[in-house]
């Protein structure tokens, strides 16, 4: 049992996500930074899909009801046990009555707390992930609140020795400026050539509207090719006939402030999508904070698949070492 003394800014239960329900408008939810989440589970010997806590910006204060192995990965929100700093990216052990708290965020935006066995909440539509918009999954469909008591599950598959660490060269470093790789396409034909160039050459500033639904970016206005709007497309030049939005797809309503849609986003709608963040960089997108700078870098599909393979190889290396 884990007792929530203070909830933090937004702490939610997440796993790999609720896959297969996109067609009814259900986004997958799930951990925003899957790399850190997965390493967290590996460090406590959990199955890949065990649920963890996703901590955003400001950490919670949690008290453990029994001896338990845990790990803390992701953005650097420095953790402390009973007030003493402890390492991230390492297998730790807490005793009954121990309190976990966090200092102010140093880098990144989201930190994962994995516990041996996983967080046990009911599986809703094949996932334990929290989707707060309609209040399903996770702990009662919402972010944690003071006084909540979390049960621990039995999704562990091996005992990992306390003090196990991962190769430091495999720990991601989160800066304040970010290069995010995208595959340009989908409805990019709607942008003028100049605006396509502006999109890729600008340094965008992340606005306060940056959360699990999506990240909005401030910068120059983008322009669309003039046309007679097709039937059903809506009147704004940024509108197209309603279509499905990939996770990571970028839309620019009215040409103002590109939005990258993330794991809790709407699944479809009537705005032209102009590019998609590659899957490997969605993890890094999750670690970006408001006011940080983003540059979108165009890559080919082959490069995107290569980046994905690299990430998978890194995770395999980590798994083998543990």
């Amino acid at each position: 049992m884990i007792k929530v003394i203070k909830p933090g800014l937004q702490t939610t239960v997440q796993d790999q996500g609720r896959i297969g329900l996109y067609e009814i408008g259900m986004p997958p939810s799930g951990a925003m930074d899957k790399f850190s989440y997965t390493v967290g589970n590996l460090l406590v010997g959990n199955q890949r899909n065990a649920a963890a806590l996703e901590i955003t910006y400001l950490g919670p204060v949690l008290q453990f009801g029994r001896k338990l192995r845990i790990s803390i990965t992701g953005g650097n929100i420095p953790p402390k046990i009973n007030g003493q700093p402890v390492a991230m990216w390492e297998t730790l052990e807490v005793q009954e009555g121990d309190t976990l708290s966090f200092d102010f965020v140093q880098s990144g935006a989201r930190t994962y707390l994995a516990v041996e066995g996983g967080i046990d909440v009911p599986v809703v539509m094949n996932s334990r992930s929290t989707y707060t918009l309609i209040g399903i999954g996770g702990f009662q469909g919402r972010a944690l609140a003071e006084g909540d008591e979390l049960a621990v599950g039995d999704m562990h598959e091996k005992k990992v020795p306390v003090g196990t660490r991962i190769d430091p060269s495999l720990i991601p470093v989160f800066q304040k400026t970010h290069e995010i790789r995208v595959v340009v396409g989908l409805c990019s034909y709607r942008l003028t050539e100049e605006s396509k160039a502006v999109f890729l050459e600008s340094e965008w500033t992340v606005t306060p509207e940056a959360n699990r639904i999506g990240y909005r970016h401030k910068g120059e206005r983008l322009k669309f090719v003039e046309r007679q709007q097709p039937f059903g497309a809506g009147s704004n030049p940024s509108n197209v006939t309603d279509l499905g939005y990939p996770i990571g797809s970028i839309q620019v309503p009215d040409g103002v402030e590109p939005i990258v849609l993330l794991h809790d986003a709407v699944t479809g709608g009537g705005y032209a999508t102009i590019a998609t963040v590659i899957s490997a960089d969605l993890n890094r997108m999750a670690q970006i904070k408001t006011n940080e700078k983003v540059k979108f870098v165009s890559v080919t599909l082959e490069e995107a698949i290569g980046a994905r393979r690299n990430l998978r190889d890194q995770l395999m290396k980590i798994a083998d070492a543990i």
């Binding site: 896959i19 408008g25 497309a233 699944t267 599909l301």
Partner: protein, 295 residues
């Protein structure tokens, strides 16, 4: 018979393929998207994670480590070819009845509350506004026009369970159309019936929204309490490709149905039929009449 332009395929990052059947909304494109996506589901291809039809396109999410992107693209192109023949678009569809209390006090109240966000700021309800914009003088005639034809669920999205309903058997100039709010409402009651463009939606739960509100459905389209037998397994009523039939009800019956829903005794009126887009395009309204017989 009908012809469609060649489908345009593109990749959304390394996990998605987007297939654009046409750039405009058309029934032909939508039936093709529904037929292809239902065929894909039937084939249960390893590595395909999500199959998502939209108004005139569809989106596939896949795991490129299980099925290489290029192979999947070839595969989709092959299915696309077979589904370019109208005779190959047959679908099993589910017809569901939705009782609606039109021009009800709840949506009238929301019309008033969010008046300053609408396209005209006059003190009239959304119902009256849509009537006026579509040249209706009598409330009954409008209700008849909105409930006579069945509606095809052409796609879902917005918030989970929200279905875009598009009227079947009508010419474009017969379809009730309306602009959305100039600036979205911050709230909409769950079960409210909204109109935007040529589409009708029923809000699954309270949410922001910009469709003009013309009534309240007596039955939920989302329920996770488990009390309703028809929503116990899935929580959500709609599926792309369903056909919904609106049935106007008065206050008394609306309240009766609501209390049945509350008690968990309500059963949705449903019927399964084989739907042939080819026959539909050949006979239009006459075919719809035939499909909707004894429903």
């Amino acid at each position: 018979m009908f012809t469609l332009p060649e489908t345009r395929f593109d990749f959304g990052g390394d996990e998605y393929i987007y297939a654009e059947i046409s750039r405009d909304m058309s029934e032909e494109s939508n039936f093709k998207a529904l037929a292809i996506t239902s065929e894909l589901r039937r084939r249960q291809i390893p590595g395909i994670l999500d199959i998502c039809p939209s108004n005139s396109s569809y989106l596939i999410r896949f795991d490129p480590e299980v099925i290489p992107a290029a192979n999947l693209l070839d595969y989709l192109k092959e299915i696309d070819m077979t589904k370019s023949n109208p005779a190959a678009l047959n679908l099993e569809v589910r017809i569901v009845e939705i009782p609606i209390w039109y021009d009800d006090p709840i949506t009238r109240e929301y019309s008033r509350r969010f008046q300053e966000r609408n396209i005209i700021k006059e003190n009239i309800s959304n119902f009256e506004l849509v009537m006026k914009l579509n040249g209706f003088k009598e409330k009954e005639a409008f209700i008849e026009a909105h409930s006579r034809s069945p509606y095809l669920i052409s796609m879902m999205g917005f918030i989970p369970g929200t279905a875009w309903e598009y009227p079947l058997g009508l010419r474009k100039d017969q379809i009730i159309q309306t602009p959305k709010y100039a600036s979205p409402r911050t709230d909409t009651p769950g079960r409210a019936v909204g109109l935007g463009g040529a589409f009708t939606v029923i809000y699954p739960l309270s949410a922001p929204g910009s469709y003009q509100l013309i009534g309240m459905a007596a039955v939920p389209v989302f329920d996770q309490s488990g009390k309703l037998e028809d929503l116990r397994d899935s929580f959500f009523l709609a599926r792309p490709g369903d056909i919904w039939k609106h049935r106007p009800v008065e206050e008394r019956e609306y309240k009766q149905i609501l209390s049945q829903v509350e008690a968990g005794t309500y059963r949705y009126r449903m019927k399964y039929v084989d739907f042939s887009p080819e026959e539909y395009f050949a006979k239009r309204e006459a075919y719809i009449k035939q499909v909707m017989e004894d429903f």
